[in-house]
Symmetry: C2
Subunit: 243 residues, 2 copies
DNA sequence: ATCAGGTTTTTGGCATGCCAAATACCAGAA
DNA sequence: TTCTGGTATTTGGCATGCCAAAAACCTGAT
């Protein structure tokens, strides 16, 4: 018999640690509710529905099969994330960002990513940098990004996340992911737009080249300008979503 | 008489809107508990106590005179902020950052602040930029920062916050404030150190000069390098706190 | 004295129920 | 029909109490 996880491991004992399948806590209802609600909010396309989206604690607790307590705790967490806002005796409303807020977020993203690029030039391994090209290996002059927008958009996000991960700075990674979550619902109608995908791919490759060349200033500049370009684009052409 | 915020303003009605003292909700216990706990955590000098700091729900609810429910919701919020971590059947522990995490945070701060500097050169008013000098008007070659470290340290933080506010980008402001909260407890033994205050003041003035000159690239560079300098300093001399 | 085995206590997780504020609803008067 | 006043309902805020997992404690055998 295997003795699983003793507080103090007995001196002499043949330990057969096979198939210890993680007796782990399996996350609480609170965390399950948090993940479920977060995912539901992210895939609900808030910017297409005209009237404000409301959540109801009791309805949610019934739908998820738990009491209101863990639901309320999950809501409190989501409120910290800025995804919802609970108005005292009115209800819980899913937050809709203004165009200005989206633009501000993208500029913050540009700041974080350019710093990541800077750090990468001094620490990342050559092979890891070069591997960034793989995200776009299915696209070229024959198979153009603007003809496969959905697919290219996913590769786009994956590239940016992989890029920032190379900085080996978890704070940059986490903060950027938070921003991407907020911008994502909005992304569908902006990042994927044809008029930007045309310039997007060359810019990405330019960033990779600067990283490979270990040109800190250039890599930083290219990463910054690329994302600032998106911010400028949204600022100029993002009206239709915020009527 | 003005008609004060009616849902539908009645046509004819002489409304005496004197002494409408805001019947506002006065924040819930949940939010009060959140603020109280947050402040308590921030002023407790986590890095000086050797053993991990634990919190107890029941003790807290008794101390604050409320039930465990709002306390638990506040804890959930603080956990989202990264200030505490609740371990299932073990307790709630106040998170201690590693040196690497602190350095990573400061680098993220550098990224955000350099972007703020960039934006300021294109949007802020001259007088607002010049006003940044006031934070240091009490310091000069006669009254040196290193002789009034506590006071200079406060001016330092205030300067950085005011600087970022000038960007008029609320996302940058909020993210930086979050970072400062985490770095603050640590600040006492680093930012305030004499060997850095010597170079700090001239660098600050250099940033202001670049902003006034509307030199986008230079302002960004100086803001970035100044804070990256702090990161490098902590990385090199911050050992003693993380034994 | 040491340690296995069992018991008590502690601690977070969660369900339940009541409360008050805000709203929705409805009936009666003008 | 429209407006007013009151009532029922909805909704988040919160207190309370039980539960199970862990830890702390205790006890008796070796």
């Amino acid at each position: 018999m295997a003795t699983p996880k003793e507080t103090k491991a007995p001196p002499a004992m043949a330990e057969a640690d096979i198939a210890i399948v993680r007796i782990a806590p399996e996350t609480s209802f609170k965390n399950k509710a948090y993940e479920a609600l977060k995912e539901a909010i992210l895939k609900m396309d808030i910017y297409t529905t005209p009237e404000p989206v409301m959540l109801d604690e009791r309805a949610l607790s019934e739908r998820l099969g738990v009491s209101r307590t863990p639901i309320r705790e999950a809501i409190a967490m989501l409120e910290q994330d800025g995804f919802v806002k609970t108005v005292p005796r009115r209800g819980i409303v899913v937050v809709r960002r203004t165009k200005t807020e989206i633009v501000d977020m993208i500029r913050a993203w540009a700041a974080l990513e350019s710093m990541a690029a800077r750090l990468i030039t001094t620490t990342a391994r050559k092979k890891d940098i070069t591997a960034l090209r793989d995200f776009f290996k299915d696209f070229n002059s024959d198979r153009r990004p603007e003809d496969h927008i959905e697919e290219y958009s996913k590769a786009n996000i994956a590239f940016h996340q992989a890029l920032i991960s190379l900085s080996e700075n978890q704070v940059l990674v986490d903060m950027t992911n938070d921003i991407l979550l907020h911008v994502r619902g909005y992304r569908q109608l902006t990042i994927g737009r044809k008029d930007r995908t045309a310039t997007s791919l060359p810019e990405h490759l330019g960033i990779i080249e600067a990283l490979e060349a270990r040109d800190t200033e250039l890599a930083e500049k290219r990463a910054r300008d690329h994302t600032l370009g998106l911010a400028a684009y949204v600022e100029a052409h993002g009206q239709e979503l915020f009527t």
